[in-house]
């Protein structure tokens, strides 16, 4: 009961309410703009959070996460371009329905199902994060190593790119984390005599480079692209008939999204694809899918927003990011001196339940903003790229520079921008790099400490039941894409 009261704390703090208001608004704008999104937006806003207290900072980031994930649906429905990757499945039915003159109905369903999915996942977060944190008390270094390996092997099935390419990108991310002084022995690694590299490569330059700068280069190849934008009169709340058709789909997708979100490294993109395909599988009218099915929109949108709360579960309870955006939130926590994990639940419940409450309110806020302001947000897509991207460049450069006041960080950002562009061009997702980078230190640190405990005997890992379970799950995660592709071939 006390914890539930703590959840309401943001409602009674004008500062937190203001942060939530702006976070949700900013998240919606980011979500609407194709190419940007909560991950890039979160990374860009991180330096500003230094002026805030830890709770306000994380509330700002999580509200951007929730609203940004929903915002992608507006662009998906109106211009057939997902504002965020998680909204890709929404395009499949959202745009055809909008073409039939029912853009308001499509967006109404997207808004309602996103809100329900989001709130459902916060409930999951409130109940499961403390349980997982409690379990984590049993974890020693070998278990954390096995868990991190499990998180990394999950990259094989993140949906974008081929499994092996994702694993290469993940290994590359870990490799980046080894640059600088070895944290155990202080020996320089991959510094090439550059003093600035002894502290390692920062997270922000890599994230902003891989997401924002590589997207700027991608946009430079699309300057002649013309979007067919469908005019929106007003959002309509779903009718009784629509509710009857979709309530089961919304609940199912909320469950799927929350579960997928909890899995390390998986996020809204995978959740929405699975939510969509399950909606089709259970539908009485599967032939309508792809032609403007209201169930398709509900399935995809409930799932991707449900993944937000789910992804926060491993992030807060174990310090393992559930998605790319939660990797940014994890960085925010670390920057503000908050160490996620079981101790956080015991020592700072007010902080945690404040975040849970803020996520709940953010879901309600984006419903209100989306319902009354979708028409205005849709107009943001009219800002031409030739004006928008140079502005994003200016903010990216200053934001990256501001964390360490280092020009080298800006150059690193540009380098990763170019690298990210070519990675995406040749089918390598950039998300695994981020996850690998954030998990790198954990993987290496726990491996080396475990080997000290085991006196160098690698086989001892398999004598620990929890570690062994994670290794088996890792093998399943690696085999899953193979089984899936064989199944698809059979079909």
């Amino acid at each position: 009961m006390d914890n539930l009261l703590l959840m309401l704390a943001p409602l009674f703090s004008s500062k937190l309410l203001l942060v939530l208001f702006f976070g949700t608004l900013f998240g919606l704008i980011l979500g609407v703009l194709p190419g940007l999104g909560p991950t890039t937006g979160g990374a860009l806003i991180l330096p500003f959070t230094m002026t805030l207290d830890p709770l306000s900072a994380i509330v700002l980031l999580t509200s951007i996460y929730c609203a940004g994930t929903y915002g992608g649906a507006i662009t998906a429905v109106l211009i057939n371009t997902p504002g965020t990757p998680a909204a890709a499945a929404t395009c499949l039915d959202g745009y055809p329905l909008a073409q039939k003159g029912e853009a308001g109905r499509a967006l109404g369903m997207a808004t309602v199902s996103s809100t329900v999915g989001g709130i459902f996942s916060v409930v999951i977060l409130v109940f499961f994060a403390p349980i997982l944190a409690q379990l984590a008390y049993e974890f020693g270094q070998p278990e954390y190593f096995a868990l991190a390996i499990f998180g990394l092997t999950m990259l094989a099935s993140i949906g974008e790119g081929s499994p092996i390419k994702n694993l290469i990108a993940g290994a590359f991310g870990i490799l980046i984390s080894t640059v600088g002084k070895d944290f155990m022995t202080s020996i320089d690694r991959f510094t090439f005599g550059i003093n600035e590299l002894t502290e390692g490569i920062g997270f922000i330059p890599v994230v902003v480079g891989l997401f924002a700068m590589s997207e700027m280069l991608t946009q430079s190849t699309l300057i002649n692209q013309v979007f067919n934008r469908i005019a929106l009169k007003a959002i309509k709340l779903p009718s009784k008939d629509d509710y009857k058709k979709t309530w089961k789909t919304i609940l199912r997708s909320s469950g799927i999204g929350s579960f997928i979100g909890v899995l390390p490294a998986e996020g809204g993109t995978v959740a929405s694809l699975i939510g969509y395909s399950e909606a089709k599988r259970f539908s009485k009218n599967p032939e309508e899918f792809g032609k403007g099915s209201i169930e398709g929109i509900a399935g995809a949108e409930a799932a991707n927003n449900a993944a937000t709360g789910g992804a926060m579960v491993p992030t807060l309870a174990l310090g393992i990011p559930g998605s790319a955006t939660t990797a940014v939130i994890l960085t925010g926590l670390i920057i503000h001196g908050v160490r996620p994990g079981p101790d956080l639940f015991r020592e700072q419940p007010d902080f945690l339940y404040g975040i849970f409450g803020a996520m709940l309110i953010a879901n309600i806020l984006f419903f209100i903003f989306g319902f009354f302001g979708a028409k205005i947000f849709a107009r943001i897509t009219l800002v031409p790229n030739k004006i928008l991207w140079p502005m994003i460049f200016a903010v990216s450069v200053c934001g990256t520079y501001s964390l360490n006041q280092s020009i080298i960080d800006v150059w690193i950002m540009l380098f990763f921008g170019v690298l990210g562009f070519f990675m995406r061009r040749y089918g390598f997702s950039v998300v695994p790099v981020i996850i690998g980078l954030i998990l790198g230190e954990l993987v290496e640190g726990t491996l080396r400490q475990s080997l000290v405990i085991f006196d160098g005997n690698w086989l001892m890992f398999f004598t620990r039941p929890i570690a062994l379970t994670f290794f088996i799950l890792s093998l399943i995660a690696l085999a899953f894409p193979l089984i899936r592709s064989k199944k698809l071939k059979k079909k």
Partner: protein, 168 residues
Amino acid sequence: MKNVQKQKRANKSLPFFFRDEFRVSLVIILISVALLITTFTFDIVPPILNRGIQPATFPKALLVLIIVMTLLIYYLATKNPWKVEKKLPRSFFLTLSSFVIFVVVSKTLDFFLAISALSIFVSYCWGEKRLFYLLLVGIIFPIIVFIFFETILGLRFPPGIITNIYYS
């Protein structure tokens, strides 16, 4: 779908050294091998200070893993070629070159000037010819961003021609 198959067939008809899968794999392997060689130059920790494994062991293992997986994607690509990517347009190379100009200008002249020059250059190359909008993205907006970062975060930008005038 038909387009992708067409692009894949087009890729298969190219000599192997012109195919994307070969070139990408080669670049990854060459870089990985170079980094792998570098790991042999890392200092070795005496056994008494060593924590589990040598500092070079972990990166070495990662690089070997990357090389093996790259060989695997190349092997798979020989059976199922990647689709041929469209040629990159001029605007891409102009934007890319603006990054280089940014690095040079920010290093030699001024950080603000570099942002301003890149913004105007990119905006112009992407088709913006109206003077007001070029000034908006190249001067007005960067000034707002600079002042915002300076006042909110107390940030001090690196010295340069324009920044020095501002600070003095």
